[in-house]
């Protein structure tokens, strides 16, 4: 992001400077788009500060009365803390496992020639395009059957959910990290070999530190995917293992929807991921660039 600054500084007075009409079109388009993008965020924030009577009546742009009550009530209406913990455990474990496994796989793909390499990468990438629903039915049956025949409770457990989440992020992680690792010069590996490192030594002492931004970006992506997943969470969890994506529906009772609490809870579960993402998005962009060149 640093290079365009220097470019435009010299450009402003040059003949290539954008004409006025362009700047007006840009202003109008970007303003409208910002409004569209931020509208739900505003609704989330403002409604989370309203009392229930207020969100149940006709929508009002500004809260008639500001209250923090929804932020206190969300923890009692549904066991939000437990859902939060479940989501944290599931998304965290899935992230750590998929990053570690992807680091090994990506290292193999980026550094070695071996038989079956093409088949491996094509298979891994193509599983990403398959509809989740295709895997849901069989996995559901497999988990239920394993539970019935061996007593290992995968269905409804956090472990089972972690296992399914692993594979959503795994193909993407392998693909991104392969691109990242390929951009780390091989001379660095060779220098490590000369210093007496083995292949794994070179991986952990040289390649991983050099590609750390990429690994962080992949981890953020994996975490986000797991944190936001709905399909498998809605089928594979029970009352005690429910994650946020399903648990948030609990604010709708038969008679009433506590919209102010829904909005407050949505905000609370969003803040950690959005903050993490915005802090680290630069690395994700860089990763997409290296990945896309391949």
């Amino acid at each position: 992001m640093a290079s365009p600054t220097a470019r435009t500084a010299g450009r402003r007075r040059s003949p290539t400077a954008p004409p006025r009409s362009f700047r007006w079109a840009r202003r109008i388009f970007l303003t409208a788009l910002t409004g569209f993008v931020l509208l739900p965020v505003y609704v989330m924030l403002s409604s989370s500060l309203k009392p229930l009577e207020d969100v149940s009546g006709t929508f009002r742009w500004l809260p008639g009365e500001l209250t923090l009550r929804p932020y206190l009530d969300i923890w009692h209406t549904v066991p939000l803390a437990r859902y939060f913990g479940n989501s944290l455990i599931v998304a965290g474990s899935a992230t750590v496992c998929s990053v570690v496994i992807a680091v090994f796989a990506a290292y193999a793909v980026s550094r070695y020639r071996f038989r079956g390499k093409r088949i491996f990468t094509v298979t891994v990438l193509s599983t990403q395009m398959f509809p989740g629903i295709l895997f849901l039915l069989p996995l559901f049956l497999i988990y239920v059957n394993i539970g019935n025949s061996t007593g290992v409770a995968l269905y409804g457990s956090r472990g089972g959910l972690i296992l399914t989440y692993l594979t959503f992020s795994l193909p993407f992680s392998i693909w991104m990290l392969t691109g990242y690792f390929a951009s780390v010069p091989r001379e660095l590996d060779e220098a490590a070999y000369v210093d007496g490192c083995g292949a794994l030594g070179a991986l952990f002492r040289v390649v991983v530190p050099a590609a750390l931004p990429g690994i962080v970006a992949v981890a953020v992506y994996a975490f986000m995917t797991a944190w936001g997943e709905v399909l498998f969470a809605s089928v594979m969890t029970n009352d005690t293992t429910r994650t946020l994506s399903v648990g948030l529906q609990g604010y709708a009772t038969q008679n009433d929807v506590y919209w102010n609490q829904v909005m407050a809870a949505s905000l609370v579960v969003s803040v950690p991921v959005v903050a993490g993402f915005l802090l680290l998005q630069r690395y994700l962009v860089a990763g997409l660039t290296t990945g896309a060149v391949k």
Partner: protein, 307 residues
Amino acid sequence: MRVLAGLRRAGLPYLLLLPALLLELLVHLVPMVIGIVMSFKDLTRLHIGDWGTAPWKALGNYRVTVDFDAPVGATLLHSFFVTCAFSVLTVGLCWLLGTTAAIFLQENFRGRGLLRAVFLTPYALPVYAAVITWAFMFQRDNGLVNHVLHDQLHLTDGRPFWLLGDHSFLALLVVSVWKTWPFAFLVVMAGLQNIPKDLYEAAALDGAGLVRQIRRITLPALRPINQVLVLVLFLWSFNDFNTPYVLFGKAAPEAADLLSLHIYQSSFVTWNFGTGSAMSVLLLLFLLVVTAGYLLATSRGRKHADG
């Protein structure tokens, strides 16, 4: 010793791949095979505890699924067309918004970094939190959409239902575009960084205006990226489950009945896994054919452009 070391080295890539391979096998390949087998079985509630005992049905499930005169097939066909329309519109709009925003943000100006962060927010928000908020905005009596359209702008007759009936397609599309376009933005922005700046300067010196520069330099340079981007966007929106499920619940209104939710509903609500699997397999086959055709067509188009 040397032979042993050689062996170890030859085996090393496989060893490194082993965990990834095992997982792929366990969670993708085995379920896929089982899914295909399931689609040939009469798998109802009775046999869920031990699916092996379900009676063989040969092509029976497929016959029911593609019998477009009967209810199961008719609704599936309808859902298929809804999904096609939804995907084409989502991909088109997301691409358009993403590309325009990326081009407008290519140049540095005050607030560019902030705008970039703002634009990426829908992508970062957990899907269910964002879609629940949209569901609230689309509420008939206490939502923002009707408040603006009816109370403030007087554009609508009365307060329409947005999450029921024919309007639901529009609601679904808006939400889907809102949360997907930042990905297009992100990818195009990454692609723009690879275009050498002097190309633009040379073009400007030759008297090419902005529109011409975009048409002649930017868009051709983005072609390889667009090829992947459009495919990924299409597959995502075609398989989207999260948006309709959070927006509508377990059953979507007819006008917005996307395939993923349709299959989910036919499997888990009616507990008929056999037909659900047959539908999934058909969906997969369709996507494979479309993807293969698309890749073939775009790579041929590229060769023509190069030659």
